[in-house]
């Protein structure tokens, strides 16, 4: 790479040369756009973040019924709010490595049953109080005790006892779990003063930004925390989230310069937006996946031959191309992909094979009555279209699939996890264990495929207790194969997080953990 280009990249990063000029000149020197963009990003990083200004994010996924209570957080806007005011004990970095935050270090006993978190000292809440291990304990209690209403209750289940010992907070589990620190990175588990027992929704935490105004379903406004424990990591003086649920309105707001970045760009228009001046699309493969799920204990889906027939007949490439417009990857009837640590990449990719599907279908002895697939647009974006594609390819193999459209309203309470065959969506989990324990263990609350395989359960528990990564990988691989070949999950695709960002923003590097740099745009990006 020529020195001239390097200098130019630094200039572009500092905003002395426009990004477009830089890309043009880089192109003239024979460097691809991807390479030039990567250069620009690394130069921008080297130049260091600019400080100051006001960040505005336009986020879809907020309602006027939202609250700042971390326990009740379930959609994008409250998630973005949490990242402003709160901190977790540990958090997952973009490369998948666990980063200590409010815990300085994490240690386990050799049986992986007791975990000790050394709590950081000198951390101050926004209300001026100093954070203590007792606050941590109370927070965890609020998310796990008997009358908890927290979205994190499911993952806090295996805890036998928790206690504070000096500067340490320790957790004892009923059964060993090598992944416990990953579970503690769940976004609900923001440490609040007194555990948030008295005022759970006051938005007071230890985070890099302090609440100014919160109007649920409209906007929230934050100012930089001058006493942040990690120092000056907020790059903007103030940060604002505007709730823009309408996709077209969100795009227009970005293009007319009223917001700096938006989430959930519709794949149908992502290509067009990327070509528009002043904005660019940032997508990153995540762990979220669009699925069709069958109850393995309900006729006709209790026949593995029929399940295999349906798995063989779905056209995964077509779905990625037509439903995700290429912003995604094909699934392999597993809830796990290469984004997870310890994933076995040698598991063969399942491909559409109508002849084999017809064979399986014949063997299943199904009486030929229509197989009813329930879908709603709210199951995942494009679910109804995906079901239609599924129906078409099934018809080619002589499998009678009938689509029954359900209303979005009430889909998650009336159809999902109730009806034997429906479309659904999973956001993914940070580690394999958590994904499997959440939805594929025979006793899991959200076992939405009614999967019951004793060998699978046994492997899952031995993997939990296994601290040796090579052995764990082998265990996970066997589990993946069992699930892929006998489970009730048809997973045609993993969707990317697709954001769009204004050229006024520098430093934006997608984080596979979640959209909009995992909610950290205010500390990881800056005004160019």
């Amino acid at each position: 790479m020529s020195n001239e280009l390097k200098q130019l990249a630094t200039k572009a990063a500092k905003g002395l040369v426009s990004r477009r000029d830089f890309l043009g000149r880089a192109g003239a020197l024979g460097i691809t756009a991807v390479g030039a963009n990567a250069m620009l990003a690394s130069a921008a990083k080297a130049a260091g973040p600019n400080k100051g200004g006001h960040l505005v994010q336009g986020i879809g996924g907020g309602e006027s019924s939202n609250s700042l209570d971390p326990a009740l957080t379930a959609s994008s806007v409250p998630f973005g709010n949490l990242k402003h005011f709160g901190d977790l004990l540990v958090q997952i970095r973009p490369d998948g490595v666990l980063e200590p935050r409010l815990a300085e270090s994490v240690e386990a006993t050799s049986d992986a049953k007791t975990w000790t978190f050394k709590i950081r000292k000198g951390v101050e809440f926004h209300n001026g109080k100093t954070m203590t291990p007792d606050d941590v304990l109370k927070t965890m209690q609020r998310h796990s005790n008997e009358d908890a209403t927290s979205g994190a209750l499911g993952i806090m289940k295996g805890i036998e006892s928790m206690k504070v010992d000096g500067d340490n907070f320790s957790v004892t589990l009923t059964t060993p779990n090598a992944d416990l620190p990953y579970l503690m990175s769940d976004y609900h588990l923001v440490v609040q003063p007194g555990g948030g027992m008295d005022s759970p929704a006051d938005g007071v935490g230890t985070g890099p930004y302090i609440l100014e105004t919160d109007e649920p379903g409209v906007r929230s406004l934050w100012k930089k925390n001058p006493n942040y424990w990690e120092g000056d990591i907020g790059n903007y003086d103030s940060s604002e989230i505007l709730v823009i649920n309408d996709a077209t309105a969100r795009t227009a707001a970005l293009q007319s310069g009223q917001v700096h970045m938006i989430n959930r760009v519709d794949p149908k228009v992502a290509g067009l937006i990327d070509r528009a001046p002043g904005v660019s699309i940032k997508s990153v493969a995540g762990r979220g996946h669009y699925v069709f799920i069958m109850h393995t204990n309900t006729a006709p889906f209790d026949s593995n031959e029929l399940r295999m027939a349906l798995k063989m007949v779905i056209n995964r490439e077509e779905m990625v191309n037509k439903i995700l417009r290429g912003y995604g990857t094909v699934g392999n009837d597993l809830p796990i992909n290469a984004s997870y640590p310890l994933f076995d990449e040698t598991i063969p990719q399942r491909k559409m094979d109508a002849a084999k599907a017809a064979e399986h279908y014949k063997k299943s002895g199904h009486d030929g009555s229509p197989i009813i697939l329930r879908v709603a647009d709210g199951a995942f974006p494009g679910a109804v279209d995906a079901a239609a594609l599924f129906q078409e390819s099934a018809r080619a193999a002589g499998i009678p699939l009938e689509i029954k459209r359900e209303p979005n309203d009430g889909y998650w309470s009336e159809v999902w996890n109730k009806q034997p065959f429906c479309a659904s969506y999973w956001g993914g989990r940070p580690v394999q264990d958590q994904m499997y324990s959440t939805a594929y263990l025979s006793t899991a609350d959200w076992n939405d495929t009614r999967f019951n395989n004793p060998r699978f359960d046994e492997l899952l528990f031995s993997a939990k207790a296994e601290l040796d990564d090579a052995k764990r990988k082998a265990l996970y691989s066997e589990m993946a194969n069992i699930l892929r070949d006998t489970g009730g999950l048809i997973c045609p695709m993993f969707n990317d997080f697709v954001d769009a960002v204004s050229d006024k923003i520098a430093g934006y590097e997608p984080d596979p953990n979640n959209e909009l740099v995992n909610g950290f745009a205010m500390t990881r990006t800056w005004l160019a």
């Binding site: 336009g58 309602e63 006027s64 019924s65 939202n66 609250s67 209570d69 009740l72 379930a74 008997e146 009358d147 908890a148 209403t149 927290s150 979205g151 209750l153 499911g154 929704a201 105004t213 109007e215 649920p216 379903g217 409209v218 906007r219 505007l242 709730v243 823009i244 649920n245 309408d246 077209t248 309105a249 227009a252 707001a253 293009q255 007319s256 310069g257 009223q258 917001v259 309203d409 009430g410 998650w412 309470s413 009336e414 999902w416 609350d445 959200w446």
Partner: protein, 318 residues
């Protein structure tokens, strides 16, 4: 008692009864919907334990009739309660939203009502000539296009391409009146296009109807100018139907603009209500429904009264 006063008292009493009936219907409606607030709050993340805990916390285990009457007594004492979903005081959040909705409706009405009536008069003056056809053509086209589409088109050209006005019509207390008006320019424009045709066509039809009368012919024979005839003789006699349609459109501007609110991200009542309906937050839905019903009934009451007052025969019954 004066017959008009008696009428007002009667109508107000009837309106209150109507409001009570509306609140019962809204409550029953929300009970029929599938799922409950606890399920909606926890969504896909619900477990049987957390559901049971949340239901107990929100008091959803009481029988529906008890909950309805608890709510009703609260309202009669001026307490709208707190939202089940986020525990905020409904009166306070609703007040803000209602203020915003009325602000938008007010400015849309300030622009659209005089404009519609003026265009209606103009259309009558140049009946069946090109100004009439142009006015009718444009307004009928704009009412026939779905409002979200007009919104998107306006947004694309005026906001994205020309950069004149903001496509995000978000207002808050810290803004000055000028800033607020600038922010709501596009939604006001779209709402004006949407309500214009109805009012303008009604004005035109009502006045044309009156123009057939003998006293208009007399006025013409007196040698009055066309505009004077319309203004002094035709318009006062056509006011009742015009007021009626104006009131219906004003009610629409308050209760029916949710699509425009969503497109322009305006923090009004419509979006607030929709969010809470989808979460089954019954107290908020009840309170919003009550306000919407009150607005509708109130404006219709005004329309009736104005038509009575505008008509001497009704004003002085024998």
């Amino acid at each position: 008692m004066h017959p008009i006063l008696k009428l007002v008292v009667q109508r107000v009493a009837l309106s209150l009864l109507l409001l009570l009936a509306a609140s019962v219907m809204i409550f029953v409606g929300t009970q029929i919907l599938p799922g409950d607030v606890a399920q909606s709050i926890l969504g896909q993340a619900a477990t049987p334990e957390s559901l049971a805990n949340l239901r107990a916390e929100l008091g959803l285990n009481d029988p529906p009739v008890t909950r309805y009457f608890d709510w009703l007594f609260g309202v009669l004492q001026g307490d709208l309660g707190t939202a089940l979903t986020n525990g905020r005081d409904i009166g306070e959040s609703l007040g803000k939203r209602l203020g915003n909705t009325l602000f938008l409706a007010f400015w849309a009405a300030v622009v659209s009502v005089p404009l519609a009536i003026f265009l209606g008069l103009l259309a009558v003056r140049y009946q069946n000539r090109w100004p009439d056809k142009l006015i009718s053509g444009v307004t009928l086209t704009s009412i026939s296009i779905p409002e979200f589409l007009i919104g998107y088109v306006v947004m694309y050209f005026i906001s994205v391409k020309l950069g004149w006005f903001s496509s995000v019509a978000m207002i808050n207390e810290s803004m000055s009146l000028g800033q607020k008006l600038n922010a709501i320019a596009l939604p006001v424009f779209v709402l004006t296009l949407v309500v214009l045709a109805h009012m303008m066509r009604m004005t035109r039809a009502a006045i044309l109807n009156v123009m057939q009368s003998a006293y208009i012919e007399t006025a013409e024979l007196k040698g009055l100018s066309m505009f004077t005839i319309i203004r002094k003789h035709a318009f006062p006699n056509a006011i009742a139907p015009i007021i009626n349609v104006v009131m219906i459109n004003l009610a629409y501007l308050v209760v029916g603009v949710v699509v425009v609110e969503v497109v322009f991200v305006y923090p009004g009542m419509g979006q607030y209500l929709v969010d809470h309906v989808s979460k089954r937050d019954v107290p908020v839905v009840q309170a919003s429904g009550l306000i919407f019903a009150a607005v509708y009934i109130g404006l219709n009451l005004i329309a009736d009264l104005v038509s009575i007052l505008a008509n001497p025969r009704l004003r002085h019954p024998k």
